[in-house]
């Protein structure tokens, strides 16, 4: 263990950094696209099902295949990995945003409008805060997925902790395999915990 850290310590830190960067970028993009899209879907009942189904279909493409498909478009490196993981992150966030916004009581929406809030004010002051816990749990789920799948990104040259695992597989060295997978697990757990804390903070005291 100590020997492993002495040899690969620096590498481990930089790979973890890469891993975190790829995951965070993909998740960040996912939130930026899926949350507004989810809100938009609640305003257009007919499109909602189609869009959510489409996101569901994208989710079923095998991770390896999706990563490979990115190479002709974006080449190799972290860009294709971020795009592929971004696509994966969409569905949970999109679905939870949609459900969260739909779950806001019509009475609240009616009261907000009736008291003279603009559409934007109603969103920011009433509806999004009330839907936040559900949206956040979607983000949390996506984060765990993305961190786990980012391991495969190494396969298309994006780096990250997957490098350890793939090297370990190729060289038949279990210390490298464990040296890559254990940090991934820890990373996923820590991020999940932190997002869990955030979810609790955005949950109105009343709804806990």
């Amino acid at each position: 263990m100590i020997h492993f850290l002495q040899t690969y310590g620096m590498q481990l830190i930089s790979k973890t950094g890469q891993h975190l960067y790829i995951s965070a970028a993909a998740l960040g993009l996912g939130v930026i696209v899926a949350v507004p899209l989810g809100i938009l879907l609640t305003r257009m009942k007919h499109g909602a099902n189609a869009v959510i189904t489409l996101a569901g279909v994208l989710q079923t493409i095998p991770a390896m295949a999706l990563l490979a498909m990115m190479i002709p478009i974006f080449g190799i490196g972290s860009t294709p990995a971020i795009v592929a993981l971004f696509i994966y992150s969409l569905l949970p966030i999109l679905r939870n945003t949609y459900l969260g916004m739909e779950g806001v009581s019509p009475a609240v929406r009616d009261a907000a409008k009736g008291m003279g809030m603009t559409w934007w004010q109603s969103m920011v002051r009433a509806e999004i805060p009330l839907a936040a816990p559900v949206i956040m749990s979607g983000v949390r789920l996506s984060a765990t997925y993305v961190i786990a799948w980012a391991t495969l990104a190494s396969y298309i040259g994006a780096g990250g902790l997957g490098d350890f695992i793939f090297n370990g597989l190729n060289l038949y060295r279990s210390d490298l395999i464990l040296g890559g997978s254990i940090p991934v697990i820890i990373l996923a757990l820590v991020v999940d915990y932190l997002l869990g804390r955030l979810e609790a903070t955005v949950t109105p005291r009343e709804l806990r």
Binding site: S105, A107, V108, D110, A111, A112, K113, G114, M115, G116, M117, T118, Q121, R125, A126, P129, L130, P204, R205, E206, L207
Partner: protein
């Protein structure tokens, strides 16, 4: 006129007319109740006032200004709005909830805080509650906040859509007292949608009865009870309520017998006995030549007199108890019954004799009113709804013919 609604129509895309030529002029400080069966268009009409819905045709003016030309957001901030499901923001404290509209209007923090305290006092709730969340309050307390929140920015017109429908009867009554007080003390104007006839009759200065998008009757509660426009209104009010209301809306003149047995003071004892015999009564009322009531003569008093030519004026009993024709039965019935007299003469404003009320007629009314009351006590299962259903069934029967 504070609020004027002229020739309002609301047609839904499927061609159904939800509101059909609605007209109403509302003065400042009025309490207007819209009442009707479901689908009568009462809520639709109310929601057009703050442009939650837009009318297909017709105009609504507030203080003479056409609201169709106003910014709907600004309009809504100037009109209080209370809905049945309370509509408090569950993620905001009571204070934040009360301050919503003042905040939208850009009031300063200090002014808002002051207003929040004022409003919670108005709601008769403790100030500590300002920092609680709606979920920590009972349904009645939540709706108290809902009501005062609608006044927080000093709105003149308050719209209420069945605000107390989900509350138990005791809580509902205390909330009704609250809004009544706000209307009477602060001069606020209320447009109040309800399906509860007791509520409408109790609160309203005028009631608008609606059915199938049309106004069936617009009048004061008293006039509606006294003269229901048609059978639909009668059914909506309910037989029981009409009977129970009788002592409070019937005047003495409506139950008195006209043409009472009366005699002038210059007639003789002989004439009096003849008259008693022919009318088969034991008391005669004495009036002067102009018909002004002077007293009465009783058969017992006459028995003691032997001279049949004695004029009536000699044995007239001048301590006579009488009532005004225009007074309400409810106000006079106790006095009449406690006097223990069989008959009470009825006079007009100038004390001219116009009729007589018999004890029997009074007792009938009192018992009817009493019988109306216990019947509802035996059936706590919402007699109001039963009335509405009865009215609805009746209505349905009419339209299918």
């Amino acid at each position: 006129m504070l609020l004027s609604m002229e020739h309002l129509n609301k047609e839904y895309p499927n061609g159904k007319l939800a509101v059909d030529d609605f007209n109403l002029q509302v003065g400042r400080g009025e309490f207007i109740c819209f009442i009707g069966t479901s689908g009568s268009g009462k809520t639709t009409t109310m929601r057009m006032i703050n442009r939650m819905l837009n009318q297909t045709s017709g105009t609504i003016k507030i203080n003479g200004k056409d609201i169709a030309k106003m910014d709907p957001v600004k309009l809504r901030r100037s009109i209080g709005y209370v809905i049945q499901n309370v509509g408090l923001m569950p993620h905001m404290t009571i204070k934040e909830n009360i301050e919503i509209v003042p905040k939208l209007l850009g009031w300063s923090k200090e002014k808002r805080a002051k207003q929040a305290v004022k409003m919670i006092d108005l709601a008769q709730l403790p100030q500590e509650m300002l920092n609680r969340y709606p979920g920590e309050l009972s349904g009645g307390q939540q709706q108290r906040i809902g009501v005062v929140r609608a006044l927080a920015a000093d709105q003149d017109i308050i719209l209420m859509d069945e605000p107390f429908g989900a509350l138990d009867p005791i809580t509902r009554e205390s909330l009704q007292e609250l809004v009544k007080r706000l209307q009477e003390d602060l001069g606020k104007t209320f447009i109040f949608v309800t399906h509860d006839m007791d509520e409408a009759l109790h609160l309203a200065t005028r009631v608008v009865i609606m059915s199938h998008g049309k106004q069936v009757q617009v009048d004061t509660p008293d006039n509606i009870l006294r003269h229901p426009a048609n059978e639909f209104v009668t059914n909506l009010i309910g037989e029981e309520r009409l009977i129970r209301a009788q002592p409070n809306i019937l005047s003495v003149s409506q139950i008195m017998l006209k043409n009472p047995a009366a005699i002038t003071p210059d007639k003789t004892l002989d004439d009096a006995i003849d008259l008693m015999h022919s009318r088969r009564v034991d008391t005669l009322l004495v009036t002067n030549a102009e018909g002004v009531l002077e007293g009465y003569v009783d058969l017992d008093d006459i028995n003691r007199i032997t001279d049949v030519t004695t004029p009536v004026s000699r044995f007239t009993n001048r301590e006579v108890f009488y009532v005004q024709a225009s007074s309400l039965i409810g106000d006079t019935v106790d006095r009449i019954l406690k006097q223990g007299v069989k008959n009470v003469p009825v006079v007009d404003a100038k004390k001219h004799l116009v009729g007589i009320v018999t004890r029997t007629a009074l007792v009938d009314i009192v018992y009817d009113a009493l019988r109306g009351a216990p019947a509802t006590d035996e059936e706590p299962a919402s007699p109001i709804n039963a009335d509405i259903h009865a009215a609805a069934t009746h209505e349905g029967g009419e339209s299918s013919q």
